[in-house]
């Protein structure tokens, strides 16, 4: 089972939309879409679902061209950003809706709905009304409603945004196991970095209707290909270097940069690529220390610049506290020269 989106475009008269996006997700793929608000993530999902007709491009599902098929004949699951629950139906009515539309037998429906509700942690809630559910419960009903029909592809528009962390983790694990057992491609929109890292087999970053980078989550987060991606994801450090060879915070970076006319270049550097080293050329002052469990993140002021470093907690020597001075070096192999270096940072 695969989902192929080829050069799909939809431009809205009021501005915005999706401009020639291609996407490929095969069984077992969980594609996470990230991007700033209004960049077209929801629109892309709606195009795939057939809720918006495209201006151009093709969509294939399991080898079948579905570009002009109405949504009800595409057999996919969609979890809406605003849940879109049917307010006049109770939880059972909502979850069983797709099964009834497919004319399942009554007793099979009852069993299947109970199973789906248990999966999302709402077992026994069949007779409750959406208006009486909390935001998180509504969201889980929406999820159950989408997966109960065993769709060929699952589209999720920020499905976990209203849940508490532990519930979020549980559902994430569920989603992953569903994906492993059912083996359908999923496209998932989220603003949560941790969620993207935890779930994604591939991350797709969008900006103003275009895909600007895609790849495995670690690669995209830690080696962003552009200043935009680096800034948006916010995981990597951005180093603005000057001169040839490029200097940052007073010391040369010892790399071969592509030449730039005015000798300015912009690099991204993952926080792990900073190394504590008494002989390192850079000296910085600790601004803040964030204990993150296995890792500890340290904010360091280096002259005018500020960088973040991340080290395993057990390596963090005693005395690493605000206002302490430390020396460090940079693993230059992990420096990535960014393409759109003239973007203001």
């Amino acid at each position: 089972m695969t989902l192929e989106v080829a050069e799909i475009s939809r431009r809205f008269r009021e501005g915005g939309g999706v401009l020639g996006v291609s996407l490929h997700a095969s069984a077992g793929d969980l594609v996470v879409l990230v991007g700033p608000s209004g960049c077209g993530k929801t629109t892309l999902l709606r195009l795939i679902a057939g809720l918006v007709p495209p201006d151009s491009g093709r969509i294939r599902l399991a080898g079948q061209d579905v570009t002009h098929l109405p949504p009800e004949r595409r057999h996919l699951g969609f979890v809406f950003q605003n849940y879109a629950l049917f307010a006049h139906l109770d939880v059972f009515g909502n979850v069983s809706f797709g099964l009834k539309a497919r004319h399942w037998a009554r007793d099979r429906i009852v069993a299947k709905v109970a199973e789906a509700l248990t999966l999302v942690g709402l077992g026994g809630a069949e007779r409750r009304l959406p208006a009486d559910l909390s935001g998180g419960e509504q969201q889980r009903v929406a999820l159950a409603r989408a997966i109960v029909t065993e769709p060929r592809v699952l589209l999720l528009d920020e499905p976990f945004s209203n849940l508490d962390p532990s519930l979020r983790r549980t559902l994430r694990a569920h989603l992953k196991s569903i994906q492993r057992t059912v083996g359908i491609p999923m496209v998932h929109v989220t603003h949560d970095r941790e969620e993207a890292l935890a779930l994604a087999t591939r991350v797709v970053v969008m900006d103003r209707g275009n895909v600007v980078q895609e790849g495995p989550p670690r690669e995209v987060f830690e080696s962003p290909g552009s200043a935009f991606v680096a800034r948006f994801l916010g995981a990597a450090n951005l180093l603005r270097a000057k001169g040839r060879p490029p200097h940052w915070a007073g010391h040369p970076l010892r790399v071969e940069p592509g030449s730039s006319p005015d000798g300015q270049s912009l690099f991204s550097l993952p926080p792990e690529a900073l190394r504590l080293s008494a002989s390192g050329p850079w000296t910085g002052r600790v601004i803040d220390v964030h204990y993150l469990g296995a890792d500890t993140e340290v904010e360091i002021q280096v002259g005018e610049e500020r960088v973040r470093a991340r080290w395993p907690s057990q390596d963090c020597v005693l005395g690493l506290e605000p206002d302490a001075t430390l020396h460090f070096d940079i693993d230059t192999a992990r420096l990535v020269l960014l393409r759109d270096q003239d973007l203001p940072v």
């Binding site: 109405p70 996919l76 879109a84």
Partner: protein
């Protein structure tokens, strides 16, 4: 927009255009008869005509202001005030359940010399005639409608948004001015338009209580026989005034935001709160016509008589109604219910087709459609009746179809056309509340367009359609002005029989029937609400 949908739209709209525009075109043609455009010049030359135009405009503008001043505070004061608040709302809106012709008769009993008011307020034996009288009748008759719309708007405001404003540091007053009223604006505008149109087209109140003053509707009525072209010109001018009011206000765009979808918790009612006393002060006058009806129904022969208001009360009128002796009242009640039921059903189907099917149509088409559907509001009942008669005398619209004159079908058709705007508005209000993604979700779950319509969209907007249908049914049941022109002795609806009984001094059983009717209507509405709340 698929091709099939486009065809649907074309067919539905053509039907609408045929039934609504054909009479209008006939009217315009009639107004140009003889002198062409100079008919209008001649009309403008007459002082009387200008006075009628300005009289109607003045009356309608003041009616809108008056109803707003009563209804907006009343709805805000009673909103979420528990049982007492709901009771006061019901009291203020109950006259909506009274068929129009009964309303007029009740105002006569209420306000006329020796009427209920002059007995309740000692020494108040005024002459209830002239502009202030008409204005009072208008405000009391239309405030319930205004209230219903504002109330619906209030219910639609997401409580989370008000809570958000409060957490942002807005006090009650600021919240009211900056959040509630702006969110209510579309409802207030809609209510104002509706009341303005109703007031422009109102005939009975100016006719009965107008004294010597001139209004467009009465002027049309007076020149109808001798100068039909002039009457038609006046009708066209009235329709133009109403349409420009529609056009002027209909621009306010409906901005919808998805709501949290959660219910607000009602505040407990505090009986002693001055807020509710103030509300009662506003609500009680609105219920006076209903009170009058009740008193008259309990009086012998349906006459107030000379004695005290509380003397000689009995259920004799009800017994007489039940025995069904002599009068055409009971058969006419059955007939009217039947006509009104069919008319409401047709208007409902038509409105749903227009609004729901037309939802994805291009914006200009949608605007054209809703404008078209609103035209009947701008046409007074008399004019509609007359134009339907000329249209269906020997042919149907577009010169096709059978002549329906003298059949009950024409009566039903008149009711459908008159109440189409109400149903269209109800359907549009329901759809405005419904997020696009809800029917979309149904589609992604495998439901086709028809299943989505029947299982998701219609049930979701059912509360709105229901209340629209109730009002349409009541309006059709009590329709008087067009009926009196169209009906024949065999198809005579209850409203006319009631009016004739009233004129003949035999109002007793009719008043009893009115009380029963209002009672059943109120009970039905509450039952429906109760059922939909239980779901």
């Amino acid at each position: 927009m698929t091709k099939r949908k486009l065809w649907w739209l074309v067919i539905v709209s053509a039907l609408a255009a045929g039934l609504i525009l054909d009479p209008v075109v006939g009217l315009i043609r009639e107004s140009l008869h003889g002198g062409g455009l100079s008919n209008y010049g001649e009309w403008w030359q007459r002082t009387n005509s200008r006075a009628a135009l300005f009289g109607s405009l003045k009356l309608s503008i003041l009616t809108v202001l008056g109803t707003a001043v009563v209804a907006i505070p009343l709805s805000l004061l009673t909103h979420r005030q528990g049982r007492v608040g709901r009771g006061l709302q019901a009291l203020a809106m109950a006259p909506l359940f009274m068929p129009p012709v009964l309303g007029t008769v009740c105002f006569y009993f209420l306000c006329d010399r020796g009427g209920v008011l002059s007995r309740l307020i000692p020494g108040a034996d005024w002459d209830f005639r002239g502009f202030p009288a008409v204005l009072t009748v208008h405000i009391l008759s239309f405030a319930g409608q205004f209230l219903a719309l504002v109330q619906a708007g209030l219910e639609r405001i997401d409580p989370a948004r008000i809570e958000a404003a409060r957490t942002l540091g807005a006090g009650r007053v600021r919240c009211l001015l900056r959040v509630v009223l702006p969110e209510l604006r579309p409802s207030i505008v809609a209510a104002s338009i509706l009341v303005f149109l109703a007031s422009m087209a109102s005939f009975t109140a100016p006719f009965v209580f107008g004294g010597g003053e001139a209004y467009l509707t009465t002027a049309i009525y007076e020149s109808r026989e001798r100068e039909p072209a002039l009457a038609a010109a006046e009708a066209v001018i009235l329709a133009l005034c109403s349409l420009s009011a529609l056009g002027l206000f209909a621009r306010s765009p409906a901005r919808t935001l998805s709501t949290s979808g959660r219910r607000a918790l009602a505040e407990a009612s505090r009986l002693r709160s001055p807020r509710l006393w103030l509300a009662a002060l506003l609500a009680i006058p609105l219920a006076l016509p209903l009170f009058t009806l009740l008193v008259v129904a309990l009086k012998p022969g349906g006459r107030l008589g000379q004695k005290s208001l509380w003397a000689d009360l009995s259920f004799r009128n009800f017994a007489e109604l039940a025995s069904g002796s002599g009068s055409d009242l009971v058969p006419s009640l059955v007939r009217s219910s039947f006509y009104a039921l069919i008319a409401t059903g047709l208007a409902l189907v038509w409105a749903v087709l227009l609004v729901v099917v037309g939802r994805n149509a291009p914006a200009f088409w949608r605007r054209l459609q809703s404008a078209l559907a609103m035209i009947p509001l701008a046409i007074p009942g008399t004019v509609l009746g007359l134009s339907l008669i000329t249209t269906f005398d020997v042919r149907g619209p577009y010169l096709i179809g059978p002549g329906l004159l003298g059949t009950s079908s024409l009566l039903v058709l008149a009711y459908v056309v008159r109440h189409l705007p109400l149903m269209v508005q109800a359907a549009e209000a329901g759809m405005a509340k419904l997020s696009d993604s809800v029917p979309e979700a149904a589609r992604t779950l495998g439901a086709g367009p028809l299943r989505t319509l029947l299982r998701v969209t219609l049930p979701a907007i059912r509360p709105m359609l229901q209340s629209g249908a109730v009002l349409a049914f009541l309006g059709a049941f009590g329709e008087f002005v067009a009926s009196i022109l169209i009906a024949t002795p065999l198809t005579k609806p209850a409203s006319i029989v009631i009016y004739e009984d009233f004129r003949a001094g035999l109002f007793g059983p009719a008043a009893a029937a009115g009380v029963l009717f209002v009672g059943v209507a109120v009970l039905l509405t509450f039952a429906m609400r109760w059922v939909s709340r239980g779901r």
